[in-house]
Symmetry: C3
Subunit: 208 residues, 3 copies
């Protein structure tokens, strides 16, 4: 359909509401991860709570894809809707992966600094919520993308510091293997937040 015709026809705005719901769910999951690390008395219960958000995320993501399949005129490019939903879903998948590993690896005590890294992940997901809330009007949306990029850099530095300390302080190679992966999985979640920011930037550029 030619662009001018597309602009004349009504577009279904509920995609925007669905992205907000998806992002808010990811933020809640990242907060559950922070809570789990902050009070590590019952890891299995904490990981199970994070998993709830991961499953809820799958349902929302599936709903977006289904709606995409049934919608003739979309508010922005079909491929970008698919991509944005997929990348937001990646974030909660990684938060869940980190939570699961804490249980699978039978971690007993949280290393110092890991809570700080998880807090950065949570902050980045809050920026994703803020960005998708203004996705429709694109009001100051790039500011949130810039903030996500900044938080990714913060997480990167936190990760490096934590890994350096791990190799200096921990002598058991098995503990090094376990913690290195948990720390890197959390940092990878902020990389995925950056991917979300990149899709949002692309959408904004196309509509500029």
């Amino acid at each position: 359909m030619p662009g001018f015709l597309q602009k004349l026809l009504p577009r279904d705005q509920s995609f925007f509401r669905m992205f907000v719901a998806q992002a808010e769910n990811v933020q809640a999951g990242a907060q559950a991860m922070v809570d789990m690390l902050d009070n590590f008395s019952n890891p299995a219960a904490g990981a199970s709570r994070v998993e709830t958000y991961e499953h809820a995320g799958d349902v929302i993501t599936h709903d977006i894809m289904k709606k995409l399949n049934q919608t003739f005129i979309t508010p922005f490019d079909r491929e970008d809707i698919h991509e944005l939903a997929s990348r937001i879903d990646d974030v909660i998948d990684l938060v869940d992966a980190a939570a699961t590993r804490l249980v699978t690896y039978r971690v007993e005590k949280i290393r110092p600094g890991v809570l700080g890294l998880a807090t950065t992940v949570r902050d980045a997901t809050a920026q994703i919520v803020a960005a998708v809330r203004v996705l429709e009007e694109e009001d100051h949306i790039l500011d949130h993308c810039i903030e996500i990029n900044r938080l990714e850099n913060v997480a990167d530095r936190q990760c490096r510091q934590l890994i350096a300390e791990l190799f200096e302080q921990e002598k058991d190679p098995v503990q090094i293997i376990k913690w290195k992966e948990i720390i890197e999985t959390l940092e990878f979640a902020t990389d995925k937040c950056e991917d979300v920011a990149n899709v949002i930037e692309t959408v904004t550029l196309k509509n500029a």
Copy 2:
């Protein structure tokens, strides 16, 4: 070229045949991996057989790209043809990477459960074959995508279980490093099957 004109002109259908050949080759390679694990008497010969499919896959992928370069009107978007061929090729690359590591790491005995994970990978590649066979008419194609997603979840659970057992049962950190990577490489192959399913979904959505 405007969409209506594109629909009037004949389109080269042999891309569909090439994707079927590419997918069947990946399935054969995944089956060779299952056979290798099922009878681990000669790992070098088994890995060499898997590598044959990896090389054959490179040739088919290259042929698809070359044909894409020489074809004016394609049956679906050029970029999606490029993407689909690349993602299917990723699957056999990862199966080959797992087979190669079994030799490079001088593995002597297969851990229980790894054959089951490789079988899930093979099943997912069978669904890719089924999906690309109906890519032209798009008949029930999304059912295969859903099944690939389900198998990816199965592989994910198998992988978690295998890694948990690895840390519980294996005391040698070097063995943990080796097996953790082999198991995760196989699981990653099903992630790539899911990427293939996502491209197929995107193509189907665009043509909806």
Copy 3:
């Protein structure tokens, strides 16, 4: 805007110059990595030099994105400009990640063969420079993409050999963890060079 109108209007050619600057910076960073490994007397200074190129790369990448945001008619698809800039930036990020790890992990002596792998990375970045220099006229551009693919295969074989030797010769699991990651990070940099080649191929295919 219809394709024929786009062809009539002047297009801003400075994107091509910016990609050349970005690629040359990555090549200089990869050369700094080679120099660091070739004379490993002061790792901190070497890593700091590589980091300079990583930061310079971020500035150039940001400038390309900003220009993209302000430009109405682009020399090729907006999304591909975004993608190409992002993928070239990935290469220097990984070279920097390898250099950083040599310091973070307090590596004292470079394992034999690692310099050879870093040299392959540098050679692949030189091919990226050669490719983006002819991006405008697309003169023999696919030859450079083919060469990047060949170098990625070389790096892959070097990586496998280095990892096999690592497991055979090194008995300390912590050293295995550290070196395995440094070697794989360098190899991953050539994978990202291949991603750059793939974007260039896509752009070339679209304009064919």
